[in-house]
């Protein structure tokens, strides 16, 4: 018999209740049970980071977490970044800096950066530090240059916005 568990979680502000097998990964649960197919699986062993989502404010590899571990949790995925048809500043910056080609790894980089911004003093962010952050995930198309530039530009723009409002 399958080892099934009833869980609840909130994804991008929306509540879900479902019954999930104990061994089912968070990534498969998000993609195939809940329809959040923007979270991608590139390696299923925690290296590539394409499946990065934000689980209770921390970036996690959704391929290394079981769905049941998200019971009662708040999850953010790439589908939650845009405001309606309006891309977020980070998404727009990725487009402006040609930070994506095939786009398969992109959701992972976006979530990685968002989690980082929420947790870090971006005022002191250097290119070297951004490069170190971006080195957490794999991209096979871009050579990373556009991704580093896009993340850095967004961090600076958000700092400027903070300064303006203060």
């Amino acid at each position: 018999m399958k080892d099934m568990h009833a869980i609840t979680l909130r994804v991008n502000g929306r509540d879900h209740e479902l019954v999930v097998e104990a061994r089912r990964t968070l990534a498969d649960m998000l993609r195939h049970d809940l329809g959040y197919t923007g979270t991608h699986l590139g390696c299923e062993h925690g290296i590539c980071g394409a499946c990065t989502v934000i689980l209770n404010d921390a970036p996690v590899r959704a391929c290394l977490i079981f769905g049941v571990q998200a019971d009662g949790a708040e999850v953010r995925t790439v589908e939650g970044l845009a405001d309606g048809e309006q891309l977020s500043d980070l998404q727009q910056s990725f487009s402006d800096h040609h930070a994506l080609q095939c786009g398969f790894c992109t959701p992972g980089f976006l979530m990685l950066a968002e989690a980082y911004f929420a947790d870090t003093d971006t005022a002191a962010l250097t290119e070297a530090r951004v490069r170190e952050l971006v080195a957490a995930n794999l991209c096979r198309c871009t050579g990373y240059q556009g991704i580093v530039e896009a993340v850095l530009a967004t961090a600076r723009a958000r700092e400027d916005a903070k300064d303006d409002s203060s």
């Binding site: 959040y36 786009g103 398969f104 959701p107 096979r140 198309c141």
Partner: protein, 767 residues
Amino acid sequence: MSVIGTRLPRKEDPRLLRGRGRFGDDISAPGQLWARIVRSPTAHGQVRGLDVTEAASVPGIKNIITAKDLPPGLVIPVRLAVGSADLSPYLQPVLAADMVRYVGEPLAVVIGDDPYVCEDAAELVDIDIADLPVVIDAVGAGDDENTAAELTLGYGDTDAAFAGARHVVSIELAIGRHTGVPLEPRCLLAVPGPENPGRAELDIFGMTKVPVFNRDLLAGMLGLDEALIHVHAIDAGGGFGIRGEFYPEDFLIPWLAITLGRPVKWAEDRAEHLMAANHSRQQHHRIAAAFDHDGRITGLRDDIVHDNGAYCRTHGVAVPELTVAMLPGPYRIPAYRGRVRVVLTNKTPCGTYRAPGRFEGTSAREHLLDVAATQLGIDPIVLRERNLLTKDDMPHHRHISTLGTDLVLDTGDYPALLVAAVKEAERLGYRAEAHPIGPAGPKPRGFGLAMFVEKSGLGPQETADVAVSKSGTVHVFSGGTSVGQGIETVLTQIAADALGVDPQVVRVVAGDTAAQPFGAGSWASRSTVVGGTAVHQAATAVRERAVQLAARMLETAEADLEVRDGSIGVRGDPNARVTLAAVARAAEPAGGYLTAGEPAGLSARRRFEVARMTYPYGVHAAVVEVDAGTGRVRVLRYLVAYEVGRAINPMLVEGQLIGGVAQGIGGALFEEFSYDDAGQPQAITFIEYRMPTAAEIPPVDVLLAQDSPSPGNPLGVMGAGEGGVNAVGAAVANAVRDALGLAGGVGQLPLTPARVRALAGRTEGEA
């Protein structure tokens, strides 16, 4: 102002950024079953038995098939046949029956409701294989028994050139086994139509690269009419050569869908990808050049062993042929002979990887030139300048043919690009950074440069349809496919330019076999050149037709009309204008402006044919730092200078070049499929198969030249897909050699820490 040449934001970006791309495993069908492939755990052996009893008893397992369940004699055929070599004995069966020849070879397929359960059951298939001796080292396996083909290309009297040479310089260089490794693994969904079994229509998602070719091939193998198979255009998570070739799974999944009358999906995992999808690159070169007293090349020869793995797949011997065909590069070489032996080993079979044959050949030739420069006492850049073909040599007939086309270097000023690249590297401080004043210390730095010729725009044809619908939307149906290169954006720019419309109103469908049944796909840096030109021609034809209809609507002569901003009007009369949308409505069957018998619709289909490829070229320069203690090599600076003829979207060309450099650094320093003595693959995760991260890739400087428009197409464009990766192995090897002050060559790529430590020890020993 034309939209061609602008940095138009990509049409693809919004959906991909929002997580709304449609990749293989994002698409599901009601009632779908999942497939799991059972693969050989043994590199070479005789299959004595496959017992599926226990696996079949697992609840939720629908079916398990082995070779005996399939129509007999099915093999993966060669797509790209070159030369006269008979490869039929070396083709891969769809499922292994009696013999297995590499770890990962498909033996059986488990089908069930749940992918997790399928994977459980696949583990329970009892495989009984009697081991046979394995061949892992292609160079050591020198006998005819393991040789699938041997090719020699060349011209002139090389023996005489070498006999009469003032200097002969030779090196050996091994290129490591690596491949494209797109971030999205392969995935296939096959959905049978309602008429079942046997005569079903079939919808397929996930064959992205050469969909029409694969559709026709599949139709033949299934005994179906090709028009009943619809390969849909979806997003693909990277191409790079490996994606979308016809693999055993590309028959198995559709066949299962038809046989079972249910949709079947297969999504491979990363370990499968690394041991079952095409490998590439592994070659051993023994290359030599003959020079006269001035350092001018009088002859070039290369003797190559190409490790093709266990079978010849869709590319047959195209990669080894391209290697020897392109090896002379941008130089004036009076006599040349390239010989390549294609050896079969008990490893994953090989196909193409971005710049196939050129990454390998450029590495060998350009490393040889640096060693020669040392031995002849000439600066490596001067040695190259002395031997480059010049503008006056163009077009230059190589007297070699490749991929069935004559190799004619069609345009360019190679010395001018070399001068520009060296100047740019100086301006950016490359050489000063490579050779800082003071003692070298434990981390010497080196500068390396390499030059190359690429090829692009392989024919024979591409077809495009352009249609304007009643809202004024311009629909482009191309045979190219979207693999991340931005084809939708490029074709949008070409169509918008030809039709005089805003790029916003253009919509591109790339690689849908129902929408474009005559497409040849996206590979060989051909989509912008051949596919783009077809779109240009079809859009131009639509424009001409629109002018013809507008003349009827405005009751004026065509010569008095101008096309501007999505409308057609009488020159000098702002009130006499019709929009493209109005013209499209006028072209409807009841639109009122068609003459008797005239076909309805504002649309055109055009086919662009090319007899020859067009040849872009470039220069790479690198600064590296070598830690002689740990053997670690860091690439500090990297420059690509590249002639592209005309850039439709410079941002995308730069993106192609920069991304290619990152892949090249992977092949030069990190990525390698190694095997143990029993033929067990040692790189089946991203822990062992080391793809570079942002920490290993420096910012890349790009010098994009548009000085030599291609004479082979009306847009003047040349391909941009492969110039970023082509010369990275060479430039990095030359820079490491420079840093370590080696007298000879580096011997082997990738330059892993262990190899670099050994090289550093050699210099210490010499000193």
